[in-house]
């Protein structure tokens, strides 16, 4: 593995996570709890599609085999997808969607903030744009966590359930491997383990305002999205997302 290969993999991972989460936001479109929130979730979906396109396009350029962003997004199977498993979890309800948006968003925010200092200009440029977007996603989802946690009895139960269920995917948000290590050495990527503490502070602050109990450490933690180990949900999501490209492989859209 050389730096180029590592950076390709790194970009595809970021793009995979963004595209899968955008797909989950797309599912809300037309079904949100109120028009204003429908519009807000579409905005976040659009931000994430934009992030995915940016990183896929860069990955395609690094790979230099004439593939496009769509070739990478639509022509890999679930074992080849490298997104964080949290984002492929179904929406279940609005609380799940907001809790996921917050937990993932806070980690993405920190990662992009560090990547703005990347030695690779394209990465730092994409990170700067993504950072602004994630700043807003975190603000939006924190406000919702606080309202749901301190709203009605029902919303309190729902938001706590979502936190309890999604917590098993939080360690993975900071998982790294040899790809990260190589790029850290080259000043391109950032060390996620160093961001964990700050992430915990962000979570603690919002949870305490919301009256949400942070799950005790030691529970099961899912791992391995970056190596293509996923939950059962991803395959279904992809079969829907990739349907047209797979059914008409010779078509342009």
């Amino acid at each position: 593995m050389n730096t180029n290969d590592a950076l390709y993999t790194y970009c595809v991972r970021l793009a995979d996570t963004a595209v899968i989460l955008s797909q989950r936001f797309c599912e809300w479109c037309g079904h949100g709890p109120i028009l204003e929130e429908d519009i807000a979730m579409s905005n976040m979906g659009l931000d994430l599609i934009g992030q995915a396109r940016g990183f896929y396009a860069y990955a395609a350029a690094l790979e230099n085999k004439g593939r496009s962003e769509d070739d990478i997004a639509f022509h890999r199977n679930e074992r080849e997808f490298t997104n964080r498993c949290m984002v492929e979890q179904p929406n279940y309800d609005f609380a799940y969607t907001m809790v996921r948006s917050f937990l993932h968003g806070a980690a993405a925010y920190l990662q992009y903030r560090e990547l703005t200092k990347s030695g690779d200009e394209t990465v730092s440029g994409l990170a700067a744009k993504s950072l602004k977007e994630m700043t807003y996603h975190v603000r939006h989802s924190s406000e919702w966590l606080i309202r749901l946690g301190d709203g009605t009895d029902e919303s309190k139960v729902r938001v706590q359930n979502a936190v309890d269920d999604l917590w098993q995917f939080t360690d993975e948000l900071f998982e790294m491997d040899e790809v990260d290590q190589m790029l850290i050495r080259n000043g391109i990527a950032c060390d996620l383990t160093q961001l964990r503490q700050e992430w915990d502070q962000m979570v603690d602050e919002v949870f305490s305002k919301a009256g949400i109990t942070k799950p005790a450490p030691g529970g099961f933690q899912s791992k391995g999205g970056m190596k293509g180990m996923h939950s059962e949900h991803l395959g279904h999501l992809l079969s829907e997302m990739q349907f047209l490209q797979r059914a008409y492989p010779d078509a342009k859209w």
Binding site: C29, G30, G32, I39, S42, L46, I49, S155, L244, A251
Partner: protein
Amino acid sequence: MNQQIIQEDDIRREEEFNARIAAGKTIEPKDWMPERYRRQLLRMMSQHAHSEVVGMLPEGNWLTRAPSLMRKAVLLAKIQDEAGHGLYIYSGAETLGTDRSEMIDQLLSGKAKYSSIFNYPTLNWADMGAIGWLVDGAAIVNQTVLAKCSYGPYARAMVRICKEENFHNKQGYQIMAVLMRGTKAQQEMAQDAMNRWWWPSLMMFGPPDKDSPNSGDLMRWKVKLQSNDDLRQRFIDRTVPQAEAIGLRIPDDKLKWNPQTRHYEFGEINWEEFNNVIRGNGPCNKLRLKQRRDAHAEGNWVREAAAAYAAKHARA
């Protein structure tokens, strides 16, 4: 009290109102207006707003299957605009004294109508092209005229909306154009969508003028500025050449250009189908209402929670 004086007063006010309309003045929410004007406008505006919101569903059906990331982004932005349109028109309609939640209750109970075009299913990707191009195209023809209507909040909502609609129309046409340049399967997909959406699009302008019950009043009040048939003709005249340019066939054997009138002549519209769909017997009437009801019911706890939080934290 004195019934006669009140009546005379109303007659005088109505004459003043009619004179203002005739002079091309805009009516604003706090102006006096005849009760029938208020009712008709509320009916029209709430129907229009419902149509924007229900209209998100057929396109939403393909959002998660969009064939490229660019198409997905464009479609999501487009459907999101429709949510915005619903929002602008609801807020315009609220100035007539009815809350958005009340209007939504009327939609969900089946009392209020929405455009029957959205009771047709989206069965292939080309339907996204057909909707943007034909359905939004028809909406643009309608809305451009409505932007000059006599009720200020409605007209202003239309101005804002018209600015966004051209993007909808263009992205739809581009989807069709790309498909027509594509493989045989893609061309068939596009033609299939054309065949299914053409006639319902023509129905969007409403029944022929001779059978349009509310048109008289609405035209006099300048809520409606052109008749259903005129608008339909304008839509056909501008759309047929667009279809021809990309090689799509219009599914109408009687369609032909009349060089004398400088308009296209077209075949008989199936008004029985139109009336059936309006009465609730279209392919997707039940589904669309169910989808809206489910979203509303599932969102209730969310709206309730935020309201409860706000009440707890309101500054005394």
